[in-house]
C-alpha cells in the first residue's frame, strides 16, 4: 500500500536520475528573492531585519571594549567545562561530551597506541630552529619532542 503525497508550492526536489536513492526536497513558505534593499554588507537573502538590527547592537557593545582591552594581559576567566558532542574518528564512536570521551579507556588506549606512528614519521623529518626559552640555568638548545 503506497502512500502518496503531493508537494506543496513552492518546492524544490532533487533526485538521482537513476532513481536509486531517496529524493530530497524542500517546501518553502516563499521562494528566495534578491532583496536589494538590505543594507550593505548584508546578504541579499537575509530575510530577518531583526537580525540586522540585533547584530548591530551586539557589534557595537562588543567591539569597543575589545579595542580598549588590547595590550592588557589575558583576563582570567573561570574554567568552563564545555560539553561538546561529536564523533571520534579514532574510536569510531559518537560521543556526547568530548572531555569524557577522550578520558575514556577506549580512547586512551588509542591515544597511547602506535597508530600515531604515521604522524611521528612526518615529525621526525622536520628540523626545528626554535630555541628553548631561556630559564636562568639551562642553556638554549635544540627543542626536543
Amino acid at each position: 500500500q503506497k502512500t502518496k503525497n503531493k508537494l506543496k508550492n513552492p518546492f524544490l526536489k532533487v533526485e538521482d536520475r537513476r532513481r536509486r536513492y531517496r529524493p530530497f526536497y524542500l517546501q518553502l513558505s516563499s521562494f528566495p528573492v534578491v532583496n536589494y534593499s538590505n543594507p550593505k554588507p548584508y546578504s541579499p537573502f537575509e530575510t530577518e531585519r531583526k537580525n540586522i538590527i540585533a547584530h548591530k547592537q551586539i557589534e557595537n557593545k562588543q567591539r569597543n571594549p575589545a579595542n580598549n582591552d588590547k595590550g592588557k594581559g589575558p583576563v582570567q576567566l573561570p574554567a568552563k567545562h564545555k560539553k561538546r558532542k561529536g564523533y571520534c574518528e579514532c574510536c569510531l564512536k559518537k560521543y556526547d561530551d568530548l572531555q569524557i570521551h577522550v578520558e575514556s579507556e577506549q580512547h586512551q588506549n588509542f591515544a597511547q597506541s602506535s597508530h600515531y606512528q604515521v604522524v611521528d614519521d612526518i615529525i621526525s623529518k622536520f628540523s626545528c630552529n626554535f630555541v628553548e626559552l631561556s630559564t636562568p640555568k639551562i642553556k638554549r638548545r635544540k627543542c626536543s619532542v
Partner: protein, 543 residues
C-alpha cells in the same frame, strides 16, 4: 583553521593552560599569547617563539581536536609540507605531539577581517586578491588536493603587506591521482560507504558549533554553525584506493561480507531514523507531506524495513514508483536509502554538485567557492548566500543563476531537479552593481532599469517590489553603515558616494566574465585555477 582577528586575545587563559598541560613541550619553546580562533576540529593560538640567532617570531599554533584520526592529521601535515610554503599556501614550521594531542606550528600572518574591509577595497585590490587566491588554488590543485572549505576566513589577507595565505587542510580530500599519498587513504564517504555505516549521519558540526567567528558573526550567520562536517570517514579497515566500488545495492552486498550483518542492520535502521530527524528538524520548512508520510510509515515500518533490506541485499534495482520528476513523493521512493556524498564545508560556499549530493566531486568545488568570494567582493555583500540548509542554498543559487540553467547543468552530473518556479538568470553586472550600490544601480528609473524591466520578467517583479526601498537605500545606507564601519566610516562612505575613487565606476566586462566562469553550474566546464589566472581579467597584473 579559523583565525579570528577581531576576537580579542583574552578570556582564553584556561584554554592556554590546558594546551600547555596537554602538550608540555610547548612551554619550553613558546609563549602562548592567546586563542585566535576556534573551529569544530581545531583551535588556533598566537604564540611567540625564540629563533636561533636571537630574534622572535610570531607563530600560529593549531591544536587539533584529539578525536582526529592520526592518518587525517598526517594528511593535513603532508598537504602543508608538500603544497604549502609558497604561492600563497600556508606552510608549516614544526609539529608537536603528545599522545592524541597534536599541535601544528605555522608562520603567523596578521590579517584583516573580510567583513571589515569588504566595502573599502579598491577594485584593483579586489583584482589582486582574486589573482592571489587563484594562485593558491592552482598550487593545491596541482597536487590533487580538494580543499573543500575555501572561504574568506580560510584565506588570510594582509592588506598592507599584500600578503595572502590559504589555510586549513583539515577538510581536504584527494583527487583520484593526488600527489599527497595520505589523502589517498582518506576516502570520501561516497567511496567508502562502509564507514558511514558506523558513522552516524548526524552532522558533527550541527552540535559542535563553529565559534571561529567573532560573536557578531555568530549572530549574523547562524547557518555557519552547521558548517563543518568532516568529508570522509576513516576506518581501521582501510580499503585500498583503486578498488573504487560501484555504488548501489550490489556493492552494499559486498560491504556486508566485510563489515558483517550486524553493522549492516544497525545502519539500515539508523539511516531511517536519521532521515526522520533531518526532515523534522529542518527549520522554516513546511514539510507536512513528509510528516504525514512518516507518521504513516511508523505503522508500516516492518514493510518498509523489509523493502530496504531486500533491495539492498539482492535486487539489482529498487522497487520503482512513478514520482520521479513529479511534484510528489511516496512511501516507496522515500524508503530508498539516502545517497552518500561529501558535503563538508560551509553552506553558502558549497557548489551545486555538493548541494545535490553528487558523489564524485573534484577540485571544481573549490573554484565555485572562489566564485562566491568574488561575488562578495563585486557586490559588497558578505556572506552572499544566507541559507541554513543545502536546498535553501540551492534555491538561492537558482535565484542568481537561473532555474533552467541549474536544472540543465545538474542533468550532466546525474541529478534531476524539479523546481516549482521558473526563475531567470540574473545579469551578473547588474546584480553586483545594484547590490554594491554604485551609481547605475540606484538609477532604476532610467536607462539600465528600463532595459532590465523589458528583458527579465522575474526581475521586473522584484523591481516593483523594492522600488520604494531601493530609492531610499542611499539614506538607509548611511544609517546602517555608520555603526558597522566605525574606524573606517569616512572611507566607506566616500566609497559609496564616489565609487570613482576606488575604480568601481569602471569595472571591466572581464570581471563579470570571469565570475560567470567561476560560477559555472556545470563542474565539468567550470574554469580551472590555472585557466582563470590566464583570464583577460588579470592582464597586466603586477605579480
Amino acid at each position: 583553521m579559523k583565525y579570528d582577528h577581531s576576537k580579542k586575545l583574552s578570556g582564553a587563559s584556561t584554554d592556554i593552560e590546558q594546551l600547555y598541560q596537554a602538550v608540555p613541550q610547548l612551554a619550553n619553546v613558546f609563549r602562548i599569547k592567546g586563542k585566535i580562533g576556534e573551529g569544530t576540529f581545531s583551535s588556533v593560538y598566537l604564540a611567540i617563539a625564540q629563533l636561533r640567532g636571537g630574534h622572535e617570531e610570531k607563530v600560529a599554533l593549531k591544536h587539533l581536536i584529539p578525536t582526529s584520526h592520526p592518518v587525517r592529521i598526517a594528511a593535513e601535515l603532508q598537504c602543508l609540507i608538500i603544497a604549502g610554503g609558497q604561492d600563497n599556501v600556508m606552510g608549516v614550521r614544526y609539529c608537536f605531539r603528545k599522545n592524541d594531542h597534536v599541535v601544528i606550528v605555522m608562520p603567523y600572518l596578521e590579517h584583516e577581517s573580510f567583513l571589515d574591509i569588504l566595502n573599502s577595497l579598491s577594485f584593483e585590490e579586489v583584482r589582486d586578491y582574486m589573482f592571489n587566491l587563484l594562485k593558491a588554488l592552482k598550487r593545491i590543485h596541482y597536487f590533487g588536493i580538494v580543499h573543500r572549505d575555501v572561504k574568506p576566513s580560510n584565506f588570510l589577507y594582509n592588506r598592507q603587506m599584500k600578503r595572502y595565505a590559504l589555510v586549513d587542510f583539515g577538510l581536504a580530500q584527494g583527487t583520484p591521482d593526488t600527489k599527497i599519498e595520505l589523502l589517498k587513504v582518506i576516502q570520501s564517504e561516497a567511496q567508502q560507504e562502509s564507514c558511514a555505516w558506523n558513522k552516524p549521519q548526524i552532522t558533527l558540526g550541527s552540535q559542535v558549533s563553529v565559534t571561529a567567528r567573532a560573536p557578531r558573526q555568530l549572530v549574523r550567520q547562524p547557518a555557519a554553525r552547521t558548517a563543518n562536517k568532516r568529508p570522509c570517514s576513516l576506518s581501521q579497515t582501510q580499503i585500498k584506493q583503486g578498488q573504487k566500488r560501484k555504488e548501489g545495492p550490489e556493492s552494499l552486498h559486498v560491504q556486508r561480507s566485510v563489515f558483517g550483518e550486524r553493522n549492516f542492520n544497525v545502519r539500515s535502521s539508523a539511516s531511517q531514523d536519521n532521515s526522520t530527524v533531518k526532515l523534522i528538524k529542518q527549520p522554516r520548512v513546511t514539510d507536512i507531506a513528509a510528516r504525514k508520510i512518516l507518521a504513516k510509515k511508523k505503522t508500516t515500518s516492518a514493510v518498509t524495513n523489509g523493502l530496504v533490506k531486500k533491495a539492498a541485499s539482492s535486487y539489482p534495482t529498487n522497487v520503482t514508483c512513478d514520482c520521479y520528476a513529479k511534484d510528489r513523493v511516496c512511501s516507496v521512493c522515500l524508503s530508498r536509502r539516502q545517497q552518500v556524498a561529501p558535503r563538508a564545508g560551509t553552506p553558502g560556499f558549497r557548489a551545486p554538485e555538493v548541494l545535490t549530493k553528487f558523489p564524485n566531486q573534484t577540485t571544481a568545488i573549490d573554484m565555485w567557492s572562489a566564485g562566491i568570494i568574488f561575488l562578495s567582493l563585486l557586490s559588497g555583500r558578505y556572506p552572499f548566500y544566507k541559507a541554513s540548509d543545502d536546498l535553501t542554498a540551492l534555491a538561492q543559487i537558482m535565484t542568481i543563476r537561473g532555474s533552467r540553467e541549474t536544472i540543465q547543468a545538474a542533468k550532466t552530473f546525474g541529478k534531476s531537479i524539479l523546481c516549482s518556479k521558473d526563475i531567470p538568470a540574473q545579469d551578473l553586472r547588474m546584480l553586483c552593481e545594484r547590490l554594491r550600490g554604485s551609481k547605475t544601480s540606484f538609477d532604476i528609473s532610467t536607462g539600465d532599469g528600463q532595459i532590465n524591466l523589458s528583458q527579465e520578467p522575474a526581475l521586473q517583479a522584484e523591481i516593483f517590489n523594492i522600488s520604494d526601498p531601493a530609492l531610499q537605500t542611499s539614506k538607509k545606507h548611511l544609517q546602517y553603515q555608520k555603526p558597522s564601519c566605525h574606524e573606517r566610516d569616512g572611507l566607506v562612505i566616500r566609497t559609496s558616494e564616489k565609487p570613482a575613487d576606488l575604480g568601481w565606476d569602471k569595472v571591466p566586462d572581464e570581471a563579470y566574465d570571469l565570475l560567470d566562469k567561476l560560477l559555472d553550474l556545470n563542474p565539468a566546464t567550470r574554469i580551472t585555477a590555472k585557466d582563470a589566472l590566464l583570464h583577460p581579467f588579470f592582464k597586466n597584473i603586477k605579480q
